[in-house]
Symmetry: none
Subunit: 274 residues, 2 copies
DNA sequence: GGAGCGCTGTATCTTATGTTACGTATTTTG
DNA sequence: CAAAATACGTAACATAAGATACAGCGCTCC
């Protein structure tokens, strides 16, 4: 049963065209506030035109935009009035422990709250497909995440490549990329120009892009087939990539399970590793 | 100081005429949703006319109605994202969400429960000391964590090196290491022989070792000055490094703060980065 | 009890928002 | 590779929203 608009969206996001999917992702990333703004604001936030927004809400089953906004407001009202379930904290940690830890845990819950099992399953299925090659790359601080994921994926399937080093090096690798291939990109603020350029070129070649970004969405989102928006705010001078890290681990686990279920011969060797 | 519109209202409600007071009460009673609707809806809800609503928001200091609504939305956005009021009701996200996530969150709480603030502060202080060089290295799956930490530390202080590549390469770097230096090692099961050998030799040269490992403790622990034991068990074919990742981020934040407090000139340039 | 002031609502106007139609670009299919 | 179908954006349109002017009413204070 579908009880919230967010669920409704993640349920149908797979059947949406690119533009509407971007609208959906933008809304989910900052749910539900973007939906309470005007069509014009929503459209610029998502980087699409107003009609696309209207088509998006129409596809969700609403007659018009105001009706959609009313639904969001009703939902929000219910949420705000719910028996202030705050302080639910198991207090096993005592709360006071570390503000950094608390913020990180919240980021993870929030990140996964906007991420449905189906989305994860879809992405994992795409990664488990063995049609083409898998490339991974990240930005200044997120490249280690790309490496981490690559280190695992490379064991359970062939043709997994981490793109390292200078921009010129990976730009040349574009030659190897085509429609059947997948590119996993990690990009959080401040978004890197070089990565955006690279993503655009890869997209032009038909490469399917899976983007790990923050809640404000890297500009790469416009080229991406799948977008994972993780929360990054913590009481520190730096942004936190921990939520994205956990999503990555979850995906690694999911891909492994799928390949296992498919009986890939390579997986049996895994046993000897453990 | 007045931080929310609700406070602003209750502050001035005494000076308002009857009609506007009804508007104020209606808004407070269903805060802030009534304020997000149209003027017409607001007015009928309060049982007054539209101009009264507009006079009401004008009295609060807003130039026009949209400006008032934007302020409410900003407030709501902050509220929805702040950890305290997050409703993450156990029914919708709860338990069922992702066993992977739940296990990871547990791991983090457990990891930090066995990690005192003092330990973290001590380690951060050691890393913030600028007496010698800082080297970081990790195992097959944990090396990305070493990279991640190195990427951050290298910005806020000089002489931070990540040891990459073949074993022979970093073995030769031992020549550069001495009593004043720190070596951060990440090593979880299955513990790597090469890392143990390396740690032992570094230890013999007087290098202080900070070890990130799992709860069963890598053999390197016997050489380490500080040991951080993170929980790694998750329902997956792989172990999770997420808890260690969060500890690493916490340390990065702590080191940054300490250097900031010490007024390190290098830190001031950080501003330009953000 | 009467005059002045202030609050409130009705009606009108203006703005900008949501909507629709249509041509172009892109993707999919045979 | 060609043709059809689908998706997207530009621009014009209609509508509903917020803003304003003005008159009526109640209240207070002399």
């Amino acid at each position: 049963m579908i009880s919230s608009i967010a669920e409704l969206i993640s349920d149908r996001i797979g059947t949406m065209p690119a533009g509407e999917r971007r609208a959906a992702q933008t809304l989910i990333a900052n749910y539900p506030l973007t939906g309470l703004k005007t069509v014009a604001e929503f459209s610029t936030a998502a980087g699409v035109s107003s009609p696309t927004i209207l088509r998006f809400v129409a596809r969700l089953g609403f007659q018009n935009y105001p009706e959609f906004q009313s639904a969001l407001q009703d939902e929000l009202a219910a949420q705000l009035q719910s028996p202030a379930s705050r302080t639910l904290d198991p207090s096993s940690t005592g709360g006071a422990a570390s503000p950094m830890l608390e913020a990180t845990l919240d980021n993870m819950r929030e990140t996964f709250r906007h991420l449905t099992d189906k989305q994860l399953a879809d992405i994992a299925a795409r990664l488990a497909e063995r049609r083409g090659k898998t490339f991974l790359i990240g930005g200044r601080f997120t490249d280690p995440l790309a490496r981490y994921m690559a280190a695992h994926l490379a064991i359970i399937q062939p043709d997994v490549y981490h793109l390292a080093g200078q921009e010129s090096i990976w730009r040349d690798r574009l030659i190897d990329m085509g429609k059947r291939d997948v590119l996993v990109i990690f990009d959080i603020r401040r978004y890197q120009e070089s990565l955006v350029r690279f993503a655009e070129k890869a997209h032009q070649r038909g490469v399917q892009i899976i983007l790990f970004t923050d809640q404000w969405l890297s500009p790469i989102a416009r080229f991406a087939r799948h977008v994972i928006a993780g929360r990054t705010a913590v009481p520190s001078a730096w942004d936190s990539s921990a939520a994205l890290f956990v999503v990555a681990e979850t995906l690694i686990g999911a891909v492994t399970r799928q390949l296992e279920a498919a009986g890939a011969k390579r997986i049996r060797d895994l046993e000897s590793l453990r």
